[in-house]
Amino acid sequence: MSLNLSEYLQKTVDDLSGNFADKLIHVYQSSGDTFIVIQADALLEICKYLKENLHYIYLSDVFGIDRYTSEERFEVVYNLLSFKHHQRVFIKVRCEEENPEVDSVSKIWKAANWFEREVYDMFGVFFRNHPDLRRIYMPEDFEYYPLRKEFPLLGIPGSIPLPSTTPDTD
């Protein structure tokens, strides 16, 4: 498939494939957005490179996708912006269904802190070296991951204890 990249995105892709040739899995475009799928073990160095050499200084969002396939079930997507060059690029990493784990990029962009917590909370993807990996929406006592495809829309009855309706006597 031929890509229709802007000048700067072409430079981004060229620079990445020059420096991390064996770490790039796939570069593709869909509806005008550019996605780069990379090896999970190279995430930190590629992100560092993108920030320091290619001016992707702003992390707009991090989110998870449940692909619901038997291998490499979860996908974590990083939505990066370069203000200087007016470009947006998406970096994707994939991880296994059993104990999904990705390196945390919160050292590179501080903004990743809450975004990664959300992915952890909703999909159960664990972020290595995250400074404060707690659940963000669901209480810590909740055992399931709501945005996984097998979690029912109605929820699981009895999964969260409800507060007692009688007031404390003391």
């Binding site: 005008g32 702003y58 707009s60 203000f83 998406f90 501080k110 959300e118 400074p131 929406y137 209480p139």
Partner: protein, 430 residues
């Protein structure tokens, strides 16, 4: 006594593990943990729980503040009290069915949320929108921006101590509600946008009301500028409070007016123009100080710019249809539905299955909502409902900023700073 003992002192009965982790994280945030003097008779060091339903928290927001006297040492924000799982709902509904839910996310500016979702679906499904619909959407979005900023202004000034201001801004908001009523038939949650255009055209009555508003509103704004711009009390409460430096603003991911008040003219309307924003003339107000006062000036100027945009839209408003004519991609008009069999079948199909973007397509579309970058990522599996729909909500991003800028401020300033950042919890707790 170390503060770590707080966990043994506080005996939560509800969500034990959650509460303990929260206090634990309060401790872990910085490497140094100050000793709390056991002989401190006034117990100036304490942990203060604000919220979840404090009137100044703009929704259900819980702040856990570690205080030293009146200074905040560390802040932890606990959200999730409102978590409605809208992304999960979206994945089980058709695109058009989900649209009214977006009204209820940032409920202070429903119109721009509708447009954000519709734009994203139109991008992934490759739907063309008629020219007139673009301009109507822009008018709606800018009215929503003014309405949202008005509520921010009223509550923020009220947090700073002036109550009557709230009434005045609501008087103006009331006019916007009336306009929305005439545009879409509802005052609050309008759901006026449709995939492929808008639900119905502007009536003469609506256009007249908008023109009237555009004419009178700048005078009101001028009065407010006169009252606040050099108001000693207001400036003292806001200047150098909640300072966010430019580099930090990038790093923590601030968006919208919070980023612009920290010195960067980042606006999605200029960055990747959607609708017809490339055709109208407007400026992106910016300030360098990054404090609460700067955020005030940025938002006030944005309201001026919005008025400018609406005026230009009304001038340029072209004639023509307001929704695309392809019944496979967008709702047919009611005339067709009532008087032709095909129209009725198409209407039924649109409601039942809706639009089906190609299998495996992915797209991200962002708009500049009043709070900042509001983006929808959609991944399609070829059916009528999205496989994955992710909302990049500006309030969520800005709440993380709040957690960082509160440190070192006075406890009395928290309410003003929350007001200045302007989060809406309906959107943050998505």
């Amino acid at each position: 006594m170390k503060l770590s003992d707080i966990t043994s002192k506080v005996q939560p009965t509800f969500f034990k593990e959650h509460q303990k982790k929260l206090y634990q994280s309060l401790e872990d945030k910085h490497t140094t943990i100050e000793e709390i003097d056991e002989g401190d008779p006034l117990t100036t060091k304490m942990v203060l729980n604000m919220g979840p339903q404090h009137p100044a928290t703009h929704g259900v927001l819980r702040l856990v503040l570690q205080l030293d006297g009146e200074t905040i040492e560390k802040t932890k924000i606990d959200i999730g009290y409102l978590h409605r799982g809208v992304e999960k709902i979206a994945e089980n509904k058709t695109y058009q069915e989900f649209m009214p839910y977006t009204d209820r996310m940032d409920y202070l500016s429903p119109y721009s949320n509708n447009v954000a979702l519709c734009c994203a679906v139109e991008k992934i499904a490759d739907v063309e929108v008629p020219e007139r619909a673009h301009y109507i959407r822009m008018i709606g979005c800018e009215l929503a921006r003014i309405s949202s900023h008005l509520l921010w202004l009223g509550t923020m000034v009220m947090d700073a101590g002036a109550v009557s201001f709230f009434i005045w801004t609501f008087k103006e908001r009331e006019k916007i509600y009336d306009i929305m009523d005439r545009i879409g038939g509802h005052r609050f949650t309008i759901s006026h946008s449709r995939i492929g255009g808008v639900a119905n055209d502007l009536t003469d009555e609506a256009t007249g009301a908008i023109k009237e508003f555009v004419k009178t509103f700048p005078n009101e704004l001028k009065d407010w500028h006169k009252l606040l711009d050099r108001n000693r009390l207001f400036i003292d409460r806001n200047e150098a409070v909640g300072v966010l430096k430019t580099e930090d603003a990038f790093d923590i991911g601030a968006t919208g007016p919070v980023l612009r008040a920290s010195g960067y003219a980042m606006d999605i309307r200029k960055f990747t123009p959607y609708a017809r924003y490339s055709e109208v003339d407007f400026d992106v107000p910016t300030r360098l100080e990054g404090d609460n006062l700067a955020r005030y000036f940025v938002r006030m100027e944005e309201m001026h710019e919005s008025i400018r945009i609406i005026e230009q839209c009304l001038e340029k408003l072209p004639k023509g249809p307001v929704r695309m004519d392809d019944a496979k991609k967008s709702y047919p008009s009611k005339d067709e539905v009532y008087y032709s069999m095909e129209g009725m079948i198409h209407d039924f199909m649109m409601t039942d299955t809706g639009i089906c973007p190609p299998d495996g397509a992915e797209s991200y579309h962002a708009i500049e909502s009043p709070k900042g970058e509001l983006g929808y990522y959609i991944q399609s599996d070829g059916t009528g409902h999205p496989w994955r729909l992710k909302i990049n909500a500006p309030s969520y991003t800005n709440l993380q900023v709040l957690e960082n800028i509160l440190d070192g401020e006075m406890v009395a300033d928290t309410v003003v700073i929350i007001g200045g950042v302007d989060p809406v919890l309906g959107e943050a707790d998505k």
